[in-house]
């Protein structure tokens, strides 16, 4: 198994699942979120993909009971849409946390296009449409985030340094091999 220190560092990075865009609690009327977009991200489908990879994970973390589905199609001409399913307020009140086995009947849906839009633009529209309650990070979490980013910067520096050293070592080895006649300078 992988070294424990490495694994624990990875787990610390899971803080990103709690803090950031999309850390919000959706109101009980929202029964389901659905995204449609294209697999390839050349033609304005990069924003939706980024939203899925980052913000949707956080939304799911804070709203584990709400089904969130993504359907990615192959045809690049397909539209990119976000669909929000709402139940009526009274139905939602009777089943506060909607389990999937008995989902509250969908009364209306809101659809908006997310093609060629940035991640945060999609999130903003979703938040205004659903009246989601944003969760502010605590001071401790912010501190941890700062520590993590400092560590990442340091590790980037370290890796650049060791890359240099390793390259020099490799060069030296190669030069010695050429001098010994094991290698030709061309190869």
């Amino acid at each position: 198994m992988v070294n424990i220190a490495q694994r624990m560092t990875r787990l610390k990075e899971l803080l990103r699942l709690k803090v950031g865009g999309g850390a919000a609690i959706l109101p009980p009327e929202v029964t389901r979120l659905h995204m449609d977009f294209v697999m390839t991200y050349d033609d304005g489908h990069k924003g939706p993909r980024n939203f899925w990879r980052n913000d949707l994970r956080r939304l799911k973390f804070y709203n584990p009971a709400i089904p969130m589905t993504v359907s990615r199609t192959e045809n690049p001409d397909d539209p990119a849409l976000m669909t929000i399913h709402f139940a009526s307020a009274s139905a939602a009140a009777s089943t506060p946390a909607t389990p999937s086995s008995s989902p509250a009947p969908t009364e209306r849906t809101e659809v908006f296009t997310i093609k060629s839009r940035k991640r945060y633009e999609i999130l903003e529209q979703l938040m205004t449409l659903t009246n989601a309650k944003k969760i502010e990070p605590t001071e401790q979490e912010l501190n941890e985030i700062r520590e993590l980013s400092a560590k990442r910067e340091q590790s980037a520096k370290d890796s650049a340094l060791s890359q240099k050293v390793n390259a020099r070592k490799k060069q030296e080895k190669r030069r010695m091999a050429i001098a010994r006649g094991e290698l030709t300078s061309a190869s």
Binding site: L14, R57, A97, S101
Partner: protein, 314 residues
Amino acid sequence: MATARPCLGHLSRTCLQLTRSTPTALPIRLFSTSTANAARGKYTPPIVSKKEKVLPPSTNKYIKKAVVKKKKARTTYKQYDLSKEETFPLLDAMRIIRAWEVGQKPTSVKYELALKLKSQKNGPVVRNRLRLPHPVKTDFRVCVICPPDSAYAEAARAAGAVLVGEDDVFDAVKAGKIEFDRCLCQTDSLAKMNKSGIGRVLGPRGMMPSSKLGTVVVDPVKTMKDMVGATEYRERMGVVRMAIGQLAFTPEEMSSNLKAFIEAVKKDLSRISDKINKELVEVVLSSTNGPGLPLNGAFKGTHTSVTSKELSGP
């Protein structure tokens, strides 16, 4: 003439004596070094013999250590200090994994479990088959090797085996057409199968029937029925890994699967000989794309804010 002879001998001897008096120009090696040392001058270090040349033991303990220490190959897999490890109750772990895998197909994404063992690098490994309370995968294509006109063959075909027979199977396998996931052999065909040389093809894939694995049986149909929903696991590099559930499983289903698997592995560990001590050290829950979360054995922790009902949806 008689007087001239000793005279000549004397002459030659005196000549030799003369040349010997200049040792630096001497082409032959001298046995004594004292004259040579004297010739090298006062301040040069003396020439010493090999015996005298032996170095005095180094006083620097670090250098001494480096010389003396010989790297020994490790016989056990490395164990880490798990005291500072962050562990999760099952509900929290499932919440994180489900959030990570959001938008993925619930049928294609699987929960995976890794059981780290304290184990030696050589020696027997844990290897067995288990039928989980809630099977992860149920559709296996089974091949049965038995005499094609026997009662077993008919029964196997009726039970849904993809390929039944002896020579047909051998030819197909040798041609590289392996259209099945599991292979069973009836005891009567064992000798014929061993002669056919399909072990070379099936062996590396781990599909070659052998009595050790319980795939050489008298009644293949009975084994086929047992095999539906059963999954194989084995220890590799001191870790037993297995798919333990689909993403859509509820926490209760997952919990019963986990318990069944861990108990089965513990039973296997106790069955291995007394001389070899193997222990279960760590349980890590992961998923197809998700992070690996060490479990602490609890279903619900003190800080858990989700209920199992919330985690039951797609």
